[in-house]
């Protein structure tokens, strides 16, 4: 087990270097000169441009820039954004907000999704199953921005239940609606995934054996069925956490949440290399760690899976 974890951690290094290099190259190949763009429509002053290029190290060959960036990164220096603020500061502003939002959404989809999935899986073919099936279908087929606008329009405008946008990005109560919108799609997936595996596993041999042994229902469902049914669900949840962190651009935009998605979006628009690479690097790390945790969870859920 320990050796497995160590190996996985070591594998992260090439993945990490590869992704950062790729992103670095991509950002710098975006059309448009970010420094000239700082001047808007005014003619860029050549002397000032030269100074700024030098200041941000843009006058060096791309690979040298990357090397400088990487060595800085290893010392915990994420570089400086074109706005003059350290990228680390930008991230310190944005990540706490997004982590709250993402965990909130994640919590909703885990608790509600698995509960609904179990319920419908056990009551297969009954009315409640049909109802949830239709509802999840609706949610899956509606794009997230439509859902967001609808929630904002009805809850914020028509009924005045919430303020149309989030006034304080750190306030959990205000993040509730954005979190529901953000988590809705995954919630539907989790429900359907759980339902299918539960329904399938109900017919498995070991379930019949457990019943024949005379195990109480709680143990049969709670331990035997749940554990085995959750493996695919957890795979999905693991990757989904990363997606929730970085993919909240639309939701953050609608509700004016000052999180990672927006910071990233703006940085891409202004070709701000250090910020884009910094944020994506952290997101890559989140993905890597999440998938490692998922793999380790497999072993906990299914003792047949062993890591040596």
């Amino acid at each position: 087990m320990g050796r497995y974890v160590a190996r996985r951690l070591l594998q992260m290094i090439p993945v990490f270097i590869g992704t950062t290099l790729l992103i670095f190259l991509m950002v710098y190949s975006l059309p448009g000169d970010p420094i000239a763009a700082l001047f808007g429509d005014k003619a860029a002053d050549p002397a000032t441009v030269a100074r700024l290029r030098h200041e941000y190290g843009l006058d060096q060959p791309l690979l040298v820039q990357y090397w400088n960036y990487l060595t800085g990164l290893l010392q915990g220096d994420f570089g400086q954004s074109f706005t003059g603020r350290p990228v680390a500061d930008l991230m310190a502003d944005a990540f706490p907000v997004t982590i709250r939002l993402a965990l909130f959404a994640f919590g909703i989809e885990v608790v509600l999704g698995i509960a609904l999935g179990m319920l419908t899986g056990l009551k297969r073919g009954k009315f409640i199953d049909q109802l949830v099936l239709v509802l999840t279908l609706v949610v899956i087929s509606i794009p997230v921005f439509v859902l967001g606008f609808l929630a904002q329009f009805f809850l914020g405008f028509k009924w005045g239940v919430i303020t149309p946008t989030v006034q304080d990005s750190m306030n959990l109560g205000q993040l509730a609606v954005p979190a529901v919108v953000l988590g809705a799609l995954s919630l539907a997936y989790v429900t359907r995934l759980t339902r299918t595996t539960v329904a399938e596993n109900l017919r498995a041999d070991y379930m019949r054996t457990a019943l024949a042994k005379g195990l109480p229902t709680r143990r049969r469902i709670g331990v035997h069925l749940m554990r085995n049914s959750l493996i695919p669900v957890i795979t999905f949840l693991g990757t989904d956490l990363g997606m929730l962190m970085g993919g909240a651009i639309v939701t953050e935009g609608i509700f004016n949440v000052q999180g990672v998605g927006n910071t990233l979006y703006r940085a891409i628009q202004t070709s701000e290399g250090p910020t884009v690479v910094g944020i994506v690097t952290v997101l890559v790390l989140v993905y890597l760690v999440a998938s490692l945790v998922v793999d380790l969870l497999y072993a906990v859920l299914d003792p047949r899976i062993r890591y040596a």
């Binding site: 448009g32 005014k42 002397a47 030269a50 405008f157 303020t163 927006n262």
Partner: protein
């Protein structure tokens, strides 16, 4: 300067109030509610892209904050007239040598008196190439600029020879050439004074600016969330705030801000999103504002192109211009969010002349066809209008193309490019081969700014590569003129030259589309499309 989507660049600032036009937004409702002089209100803004240093701020997010934290030598009053603020007098006999006297008793927010050195040191610092300030070119006319800001290499000195401190209340400016509108430019952010604290630690200053304006910073800058300012009791300017302070709220999208405005969570917004232009007047009633400001939209042509550069193509462009039914487009497609242009200078800008463009901006399909024929036709009998798709220009571009195609038989297609940056890149590297959107928003409300930056040979925003010797001469003469009136007259002649060559087709004058909540009153917008912040009254 052109309107941008995510980052709007500004040079412009404060208060050139609307000549109270018929469309007038203004907050003057009849029943004035009781006013709370220390009440604060929220204002739509975007997160500044740079630390708040005047010489390095050239986009609106930061500019709107600085415009409230600082007051320069001059600014524009409610009637669009230049007025003295910190300056007691600015005198010049030849528009090349200026003597500036300062008013007594002005202090920075930290109590430090504002002296002649506060200005001279700030300008020298801003012009210095070592400090790489984005606004450094604003000092370009001052004598000795090339010593502190050489094209290449390190500056020889850190002081411009054209600036001399006489005493605490007086300094002199010498320009390297006469500039008749120099005084008009002094309102701009780059010319603000700076306290000693700035030079000690510019970085810290950028987070906690200390100005001399009507408002001072209130609490820390909450990045991406808000920046609050409160009334500065020691403010000596003529425009003392009628409210207690402003809470600038930063939004990611115009749409979310607009929703806040309608539901009363945001008090003033100067830019209604495209999605709401057709409904905001219903949503807000008499709190909606729709009035012209100092911006223009044109279709420009690449004069560096082999075909379009031919002299006879002027006739073709005139013809194309006459094929566009501006009035109908404004009414139907643009929902009165623009005015049909009748020249190259917006109505609210000094130097505007009615029908400056003459018959060439009037709809006349018959004459249009004739002119195009005389000019040898449009190259290949087809054209495109290139625009950035992230700025909401599609509607008018398609409508204009439709008109051209229907009325002249020239094939015309609106050609969107994904982002503003991409379009700019293609334009500045002179890769255009047909029409493209060109827009300008005033740096200062005078015709000189509209022509000098766009139509002078080699000028910074001359995207067309347009060059006309006679026009350059007229503009040079205008800049040397003794009075602004004389200069305006010469610029009017330059506009005539423009009509004859038509390197760009004027389309629309832009409007401020804004609104405010029922918590505030006396909300007036200026030609820079900003509310007059100090005049806003908060109801009790």
């Amino acid at each position: 300067m052109r309107g941008v989507k995510s980052a709007t660049w500004v040079a412009g600032a404060i208060v050139v109030a609307m000549t109270a036009t018929a469309c007038g937004g203004g907050g003057g409702s009849d029943s004035k509610a009781a006013v709370d002089p220390s009440g604060t209100y929220t204002y739509y803004n975007t997160e500044p892209q740079h630390p708040l240093v005047p010489t390095n701020t050239n986009e609106v997010g930061g500019h709107y904050l600085l415009a409230n934290l600082f007051r320069g030598l001059v600014d524009y009053d409610g009637n669009g007239k230049l007025r003295l603020q910190n300056a007691e007098s600015i005198e010049s006999k030849d528009n090349q040598h200026f003597t500036v006297k300062l008013k007594d008793g002005w202090k920075f927010h930290n109590g430090e008196p504002v002296t002649a050195a506060s200005y001279v040191d700030a300008w020298n610092w801003g012009a210095n190439a070592k400090n790489a300030q984005l606004n450094s070119s604003w000092f370009e006319a001052i004598k000795g600029y090339e010593d502190v800001h050489p094209e290449k290499g390190d500056p020889k000195t850190d002081k411009m020879s054209g600036l001399k401190v006489v005493n605490d209340h007086e300094f002199t400016i010498e320009l390297s050439r006469p500039v008749s509108t120099f005084k008009q430019r002094l309102f701009y952010d780059a010319f603000y004074p700076l306290p000693k604290a700035f030079f000690k630690d510019p970085k810290k200053f950028g987070e906690n600016p200390i100005g001399n304006g009507p408002y001072q910073q209130d609490g820390n800058w909450e990045h991406k969330v808000r920046f609050k300012v409160k009334k500065y009791a020691g403010y000596k300017g003529v425009d003392k705030p009628k409210n207690g302070g402003i809470d600038f709220k930063f939004y990611n999208t115009d749409d979310s801000a607009y929703n806040d405005l309608v539901s009363g969570k945001l008090d003033i917004m100067y830019k209604v999103p495209n999605s709401a232009t057709s409904k905001f007047q219903t949503d807000l009633g008499d709190r909606a504002v729709n009035e012209p400001y100092g911006g223009i939209t044109t279709i420009a042509f690449p004069m560096y192109d082999k075909e379009w550069g031919k002299p006879e193509k002027a006739k073709v462009r005139q013809g194309l211009s006459m094929a566009i039914d501006r009035d109908t487009i404004v009414k139907t497609v643009l929902k009165d969010a623009y005015d049909a242009a009748d020249g190259w200078v917006p109505t609210v800008v000094e130097g505007y002349k009615k029908d400056a463009c003459g018959e060439y901006c009037k709809f006349d399909p018959k004459k249009a066809k004739k002119l195009i024929k005389e000019g040898g036709g449009v190259p290949g009998n087809k054209m495109t209008i290139t625009f950035n798709n992230d700025g909401g220009h599609r509607d008018w571009a398609e409508a204009v193309c439709n008109d051209i195609q229907q009325n002249t038989g020239v094939k015309c297609a609106a050609e969107p490019k994904p982002t503003f940056q991409q379009v700019r890149n293609e334009i500045t590297s002179k890769k255009m081969s047909s029409g493209f959107r060109m827009a300008w928003v005033q740096d200062f409300p005078n015709i000189a700014n509209f022509f000098g930056e766009q139509y002078r040979t080699g000028a910074g925003a001359n995207d067309m590569g347009f060059s006309d010797k006679k026009m350059d001469e007229l503009m040079d003469k205008a800049d040397k003129a003794k009075t602004v009136g004389e200069s305006n007259e010469l610029y009017a002649q330059a506009q005539k030259r423009l009509t004859e060559q038509m390197p760009s087709i004027p389309l629309f004058f832009d409007h401020t589309l804004g609104g405010y909540s029922d918590k505030v009153q006396n909300v007036k917008f200026d030609t820079f499309r900003q509310a007059i912040w100090t005049d806003v009254e908060v109801k009790k």
